[in-house]
Structures are given as structure tokens and as C-alpha cells.
Amino acid sequence: MKILVCIKQVPDMESKFKVDESGTWYAKTDLAWRMNEYDEYAVEQAVQLKEQCKEGDITVLCIGSDQVKETMKKSLAMGCDRGAHIKDDEASGKEPFEIAGVIAEFAKDKDFELIFTGMQSQDRGSGQVGILVGEMLGIPSVSTVVEFSYEGGTLDLKRELEGGIKACVKVSSPAVITCQLGLNTPRYPTLPNIMKAKKKELLSIDIGDLLRVEPRQETMKMYFPEKKGGGLVLEGEAADLADQLIKILKEKTGVLA
């Protein structure tokens, strides 16, 4: 079984962000980078499926500058078999339709039985790429999956809805699955597997070879939201902070009365 997993490298969301000189994206300097959280579930599910079937070949795809190879190595250490690095220094400016177009172009003649993506990225958060890939390849896609089981080409899935309700759906492969938090427990790569990953194949493909679609939207501006204010910010030493907070709670809420 051939499996494709699509991952993205994103900044740690606790980073201190700045807007870059163009005024249309965040500055990429002084940030810690990691695998998009949703994609960790996608990688894990692909690896679990291979383990279940006792055979399989997992390609992990990532679009970005050379820096994304670090994140790709983590997914190789988690159990993917090879990497396809689509080299693009301008990846952050690409909108979901372009990203999906590149993935579909890569995948179109490779007979992947399953394609896993995260349900969204933590930075853009558009939630479009996985579904668009399915549309472009003409195969079904199911989004926001929190339970997955595979048996002889049939997928039993649960989609998560609001309020913790789940929708039970069945679909046949080939298919695209977009993974939601909690789908599984992503493994930590072990040291031997990190060593093994270093020897795994990492193909490099130029974005120009795969980008065949035109963008349909453009970012005009990026900025920090206006602070609505009102909120009090307390800083200092723990005991002092506790005294201040208790005073406020006594004054403003009935809780400590």
C-alpha cells in the first residue's frame, strides 16, 4: 500500500511574532519551528496503518525552504519511509489552492491508496488543502477525522462535530483523510529511529516543476489585532501577585465573599 502524508512546518505559536518588511507576513527570523500539530496525527496514523497491514510505503511531503527538512526528518524518524521535499523559499506566500495544486500534481500518477493531511495549519488555519487535493485528484475526502479504521480498502471513520458529537462515515480507498487533534497519540521518535531516519531517502523537487495553478487570493496586509483593552495585566513576584489577585476577586466577584 502506498501512502502519502502531507506536512507543514510552522512557528511555535508561543513565539513573539513580528510583521516583516513587506507588511504581508510574519517575519521568519527569531522563531522556533516545529511540525504543524495536526500533521503529527497524520504521520502517526499513516505509520499505524503500515504497522497494521504489515506492509506499506509512506512518502512524507513538505513544501518549503531547506529549513523544513528538519521537520521532515522527525516524520522519517516516526516511521515514514521517504521524504519528498518540494523546495520553495516563497512557500508562506502560497495560498491553499496553490499548495493543493502542487500536492495533487505530485500525487497524480503515483497511485497512493491513502493521503493523510492535518485538518488545518496552525498559522494560516484555512482548512482547505486536504479537501482540495481530493477534488483535484477526483477521489473522496473526509475532514476532521478523530477515529480511523481500515479493513481491506474500506475506511470506517468518525468526524468530529461541535459539542463532541461524532458523525460515523464509511468510504472506500483511495481517499484523502484530514486529521483532527486526538485522532491518536503521536509517538516520540526513539534514538535508534532518529539514526535510521538519517539514512532514508529525501528527494528534492523544485516547486517550479509542480506548480501549475494560479493563485486565487492574495494577502494584502498583516498586522496585530487591536487590543480591546480593559484587561489588567499583573506582573511580579508570585506572593505579591496572589495578594493582588485576591484583592481584585474580593472587589469584583462574589466568589471570596
Binding site: 505559536m13 508561543e14 513573539k16 511574532f17 510574519y26 491553499p96 489552492f97 496552525q122 498559522d123 488555519g125 484555512s126 482547505q128 479537501i131 482540495l132 477534488e135 473522496p140 473526509v142 475532514s143 476532521t144 468526524r159 462535530l161 461541535e162 459539542g163 463532541g164 458529537i165 461524532k166 458523525a167 460515523c168 462515515v169 464509511k170 468510504v171 472506500s172 487533534l181 497519540t185 493563485p215 486565487r216 487570493q217 492574495e218 494584502m220 496586509k221 498583516m222 498586522y223 496585530f224 489585532p225 487590543k227 480591546k228 480593559g230 484587561g231 495585566v233 499583573l234 506582573e235 508570585a238 506572593a239 501577585l241 489577585l245 485576591i246 476577586l249 466577584t253 462574589g254 466568589v255
Partner: protein
């Protein structure tokens, strides 16, 4: 400008997000028509044409069929934009429709500025203004970003539609969230643990503060996904919605899906090491501190009162 609003229902019940679509249309001063796969027994309060497909025929989750039905309505109404809620229904269906329409899709819109759509970036730490390059667009709206100023009123002119089919994805029913356990909705005080607690042992700190304040403890999703706290204590869109007198968010960044479950609390305190964490937007007091140091000290002082 004309918008086609895609309302939502589940098991025949209209979902509240449908009114946020109307609020968005009002803000733009746009003409509207509405589409709903639902039931005649629960129609939106809306003055306008409602294209209604019966959920018994079109299915609860059948994106192929729903897309086909919407495309028929688009043919008739020729809207400039098709507007969905950014919900499990909307974010699943919108890209499929946008693909067929060859339209730009702009996700999770929170506002409009100079004719461009404003969307959040990086857990709402930043905003982005997006301009569509296609004449027709598909838009999804962030949960709670638009609200009607007045209670909705009106009676739709219902036009029944049918005909969508879809066979690729087979929907076999809903599974409800586990019932039982604590009823957070009844608690006057809730202290919640976020990923910032670092390890499961620290749930005890949060529980201890909750007890000292005479309340219950809750959690954000990652803490529940890691099985550190049971699901019925999760606060947010895929957990519970709570409105206690006091909500204390410890080590919680303030993602929109968490805020949706607690931002109507009467008084909100956040404890976070990151002064810029988005939880600061809704907090009455943001204590910039390491919860592992601060929470035990606070608990002790409250116990000593």
C-alpha cells in the same frame, strides 16, 4: 451585492450559526437568499427566499449531494459570494464548492476592511487582510465573529428543492458525547488546566485551586486529548460551553475554539507566561506568571483566608 447564505441544521434542528450569516450580510448591506438542508419543522426566522432540501433525502453528511443542491441554487440566484459558517459542516463543504465554482475560498473571516476579508493567523495573534482574485467567492465565518444586534425575526418564503445525490461517502449516524460525570455548566467557579501545566501530575494544582475557590476544574483540549483529564471537563466548541461567575484559565493560550466555550463567563482570570497570549483579549486580569509557582501560592493564601 448578493450573498447565498448556507444555513445549518443537525437532526432537523436549526443551528445558531445560521443567524451569524445574516449578521454578516447585514454588515455588508447585501441582498441575500438562504439555503438549508434541514426540516420544515424548524425554519430560520428570516425574511427572504429559503431554498430548503429535506434532510431525510439529502442526508446529514453528504457533501456530494449538498454541493449539487447548492450549485442548482447558485444557477438561479447568481450570488457574488456563498457564505458558510466555519464549522464542521462549513469547512468541509466550502472547499468542495469553491473547487467546482473555480472560486477563491477565504476561510474563517472575522471582519471586513476596505472590501477585503480579515482573517486570523497564528492562533489569532495576528490578522491578515485577504483580497480575492476571482469574481465569485466562497467565504466561511468564524464562530461568534458576527452577531445580530436584535433578535432574529421574519418568515422565509420556502422553495423546496431536491435532487442531490451522492454515493461516495456513506453516513451511518451520530455518536453522542459521553454523558455523565461533572456538570460544569452548574459550577459557579471553574479553574481550567491548559497544556501549560506541562505534565499530568500538575492537574492536582488546578484541582486544588478549584477546591479552594469552591468550584470545579476544567481543561482545554490538549489536556483531554492526552488523557490527563476526562472529556466531560473539556471547555470549548467540541466540549462544554460554560458561563461561571469566575473562570480561571491556567496555561491556556486562548484559541478561538476554547474561547467559544468560556468567553461569556462573568469574570475571567488568565495565568500565562506569555504576555501576548490571545487569552489576554478576553481576560479581565492576566497574571503573567509560571502557573507551577503561582497557583500553589494563590491556593495557599485563599485557604488561609
Amino acid at each position: 451585492m448578493k450573498l447565498l447564505l448556507i444555513a445549518e441544521s443537525r437532526e432537523g434542528k436549526l443551528l445558531g450559526g445560521s443567524y451569524e450569516l445574516m449578521a454578516f450580510a447585514q454588515e455588508l448591506g447585501a441582498e441575500t437568499a438562504m439555503f438549508l438542508v434541514g426540516s420544515e419543522a424548524d425554519l430560520p426566522k428570516y425574511d427572504g427566499t429559503l431554498y430548503l432540501a429535506d434532510v431525510a433525502d439529502a442526508g446529514e453528511y453528504n457533501p456530494e449531494a449538498h454541493r449539487a443542491l447548492i450549485l442548482d441554487v447558485i444557477d438561479k440566484e447568481k450570488p457574488d459570494s456563498v457564505v458558510f459558517c466555519h464549522s464542521s459542516y462549513g469547512w468541509d463543504l466550502a472547499p468542495r464548492l469553491a473547487y467546482t465554482l473555480k472560486a477563491a475560498q477565504i476561510s474563517e473571516v472575522v471582519g471586513v476592511a476596505d472590501g477585503n476579508m480579515v482573517v486570523p493567523v497564528c492562533n489569532s495573534k495576528l490578522r491578515r487582510e485577504v483580497k480575492a482574485g476571482t469574481a465569485q467567492t466562497v467565504i466561511t465565518l468564524q464562530n461568534g465573529a458576527f452577531g445580530l444586534a436584535e433578535d432574529p425575526a421574519g418568515t422565509p418564503t420556502v422553495e423546496k428543492i431536491s435532487g442531490g445525490t451522492g454515493t461516495v461517502i456513506e453516513f451511518s449516524g451520530f455518536e453522542l458525547a459521553e454523558a455523565g460525570g461533572v456538570d460544569l455548566a452548574k459550577a459557579q467557579v471553574i479553574v481550567s488546566a491548559g497544556r501549560g501545566i506541562g505534565k499530568p501530575e500538575n492537574v492536582a494544582l488546578i484541582e486544588g485551586l478549584a477546591k479552594a475557590l469552591g468550584g470545579e476544574y476544567g481543561a482545554s483540549r490538549p489536556v483531554v486529548d492526552s488523557d490527563w483529564v476526562e472529556h466531560n471537563r473539556q471547555v470549548g466548541t467540541t466540549g462544554q460551553t460554560v458561563t461561571p461567575k469566575l473562570y480561571v484559565a491556567c496555561g491556556i493560550s486562548g484559541a478561538i475554539q476554547h474561547l467559544a466555550g468560556m468567553k461569556k463567563s462573568e469574570f475571567i482570570v488568565a495565568v500565562n507566561t506569555d504576555k501576548d497570549a490571545p487569552i489576554g483579549e478576553v481576560a479581565d486580569v492576566l497574571v503573567v506568571a509560571d502557573l507551577k509557582q503561582f497557583v500553589p501560592v494563590l491556593t495557599e493564601k485563599i485557604q488561609a483566608l
